[in-house]
Symmetry: C2
Subunit: 388 residues, 2 copies
């Protein structure tokens, strides 16, 4: 299948490109490297040295004889470029990762908030119009996040909810309670996309993804130069990825508050499998389909304890830190999120265990010289008291 | 009270400014005249000759001895200007009309869609940050629309909905089904505003307003030079306002489809009273309060019949036209929207009757030389078939 990956330079974009390329798909990646600019603005760098896309694509081709096409440009400002890309490459599906991906980054300042919603919302709108112009049959696979739901006191369904109210019923988009300007941008995107399914017969799969962890995929391990952009800082690092680097350094794990926050999570390898399942089972015309894309749920404290236990197994001592929560979120809450749709379509998850954590710590150790301990501790508070 | 009105040049903004000024409030208006630019782009003009704000403010002051302050500038691009305005004027409440207000305009093209969501969403975000910086206690009164809800098969509550699901319950933002990129921009705004109530203790009243009709208020009639911007074209004209001009011209009323679309409506004078009620009864700190701001509901066909009946009373013959619907909307649907909160706070509505319609036709006749019949018929189709 001809697949265009927007945001092909990122943590998930690049591994997805290789994975689908190896499976025989005709893959193109698009990026404008703005995430690297955002990293500079936040004064952080990935743990891994990440070659530019041209270099990685050449290495990939040399090693596997699989070609990946490259389109360099901006989708949020340069709609003509996006339009030309789609009209040249003629994708059957577009996987849309091309968004500012960090909640804390979106909360740093007015500029960061505006930049996040501008980039994400207007980029997705440009995508909608480029598809409308070229081929409304293209299947959009859009990355959203479980975080959009917040922590409602009722079960979280997969995107849609049947409501009975005053003796009548309807099926509605699941009402979300996003906890940051980043999460809000994703909610806006979903609303815009649902509208074009309903009004213009688009086909969209919205993947409300849990928190991804992991540093390696079956493709990145072929050659170190194919590694993906792995973050451990307060802005772009996801919780388990951060814990692993902290464990390696032997510093207390950054549990915010009491760590009672429950979140859905998944291995980066499962992200690739989920996206592939969505690709092979496209949404119908006019369908706005939502999958809750995670495999297990943990509290942050449970996760920290799992890391601590894995460390004990290798004779490493690590404490669980007690950090004031920089976010406004409930520490203790109900959380029961459905996530059966992808399993029903064949997903076989990789579950988290201590062996995996130990393997990750070993991988991280290869890059020990690149670790900057100063970017780990949360310094930016975005709950009520500190936001001003 | 010190009240800042964003979008003070508009159909509702200017009458609100005079109304509150006459009631003794210290009023400032802000605008960038971009709506006039949008009118030029759509090649339409208001029926009424509208003086610039400086002129109208001087006339108002000469006639009533009430001063209105003026701030000219853009809130969506020039956040420093907005910030300075708020820090200079120190409003206790801000009434936010400063948005692209037309659904069909937002659906003309990619440019119009992007411009609508950029202006509305980023403008409101800049407002949020200007308030956060200056005084988070400022009460935001934000104009939304009943159209955001779409036409759900269940009762429409005022913004929030209690849900029972699998034996548990929660109170959630009412799930909306917006029918245009314009309506979507309002939904995004509401989500952003609800977030800052929840996270930063803002106080917001979101007015989901029905379709406004009427050309005069108690203040505009003081002097013709104080009239407001009244539209009858396919983009900026609201349904009854359009019918009135059509009736005056004796051309068939532009009922789209079968006219079974039911909508909440209100007199422009009631808009002013509703905004005043919200102003005098501010939302609490941390409260995202939603009022459904309309007084009566009609189908479009019922409205056309009312106009026809009024015309018969004055010996005027007018047909009800049958126009293919340029929109994607249900012709026959359930519609039961609660709207008791404003009445509970003291609203005494002006109901629509034939006398009012006859009076409006007479007012319109004063401007007969300015009517351009070519801008009345819907030429821009934005449902599925024609959107491409």
């Amino acid at each position: 299948m001809k697949v265009l990956i927007l945001g092909g330079d990122g943590y998930l974009g690049w591994p997805t490109a290789m994975y689908l390329s190896k499976k025989g798909h005709d893959v193109a990646v698009l990026d404008n490297y703005i995430k690297r600019f955002w990293e500079s603005q936040a004064e952080v760098e990935p743990l891994t040295p990440v070659n530019n896309l041209n270099k990685r694509i050449k290495i990939w081709e040399n090693l596997t004889q699989n070609k990946i096409k490259l389109f360099l440009g901006d989708i949020s400002e340069n709609s003509r470029f996006l339009n030309n890309t789609i009209s040249d490459f003629k994708p059957e599906a577009i996987i849309h990762y091309a968004e500012q991906p960090s909640a804390p980054f979106s909360m740093i300042s007015q500029h960061n908030c505006i930049e996040t919603q501008r980039n994400n919302v207007l980029g997705t709108l440009n995508l909608i119009f480029a598809i409308q112009r070229n081929n409304p049959d293209i299947h959009i696979i859009k990355l959203g996040t479980m975080g959009e739901y917040g922590t409602p006191n009722i079960d979280i369904e997969e995107g849609w909810l049947k409501i009975n109210h005053n003796g009548r019923s309807d099926k509605v988009l699941y009402p979300k309670r996003p906890p940051s300007f980043y999460h809000l941008s994703k909610v806006h995107d979903s609303a815009n996309l649902e509208f074009v399914c309903r009004s213009w017969d688009f086909r969209v799969t919205d993947l409300n993804q849990g928190i991804v962890y992991g540093i390696e995929t079956d493709e990145t391990i072929i050659d170190d130069r194919l590694c993906t952009s792995f973050h451990y800082d307060q802005y772009f690092g996801t919780v388990l990825n951060r814990f692993i680097v902290q464990a390696y350094l032997g510093i207390p794990l950054t549990v915010y508050g009491k760590g009672g926050q429950t979140r859905g999570m998944l291995n980066i390898k499962d992200t690739l499998k989920c996206v592939e399942i969505a690709l092979n089972n496209p949404a119908s015309k006019g369908e706005f389909r939502v999958f809750n894309q995670f495999t297990e749920q943990f509290t942050v404290l449970e996760l920290a304890k799992k890391v601590k236990k894995a460390c004990i197994m290798i004779g490493k001592e690590v404490d669980i830190g007690l950090y004031p929560n920089p976010r406004k979120e409930l520490d203790n809450h109900y959380f029961n999120a459905k996530h059966s749709a992808l399993v029903d379509l064949g997903l076989e998850p990789e579950y988290l265990n201590e062996d995996f954590i130990i393997k990750m710590i070993n991988t991280v150790s290869k890059y020990s010289e690149r670790i900057d301990p100063s970017i780990i501790e949360p310094t930016h508070f975005w709950n009520n008291k500190s936001a001003r």
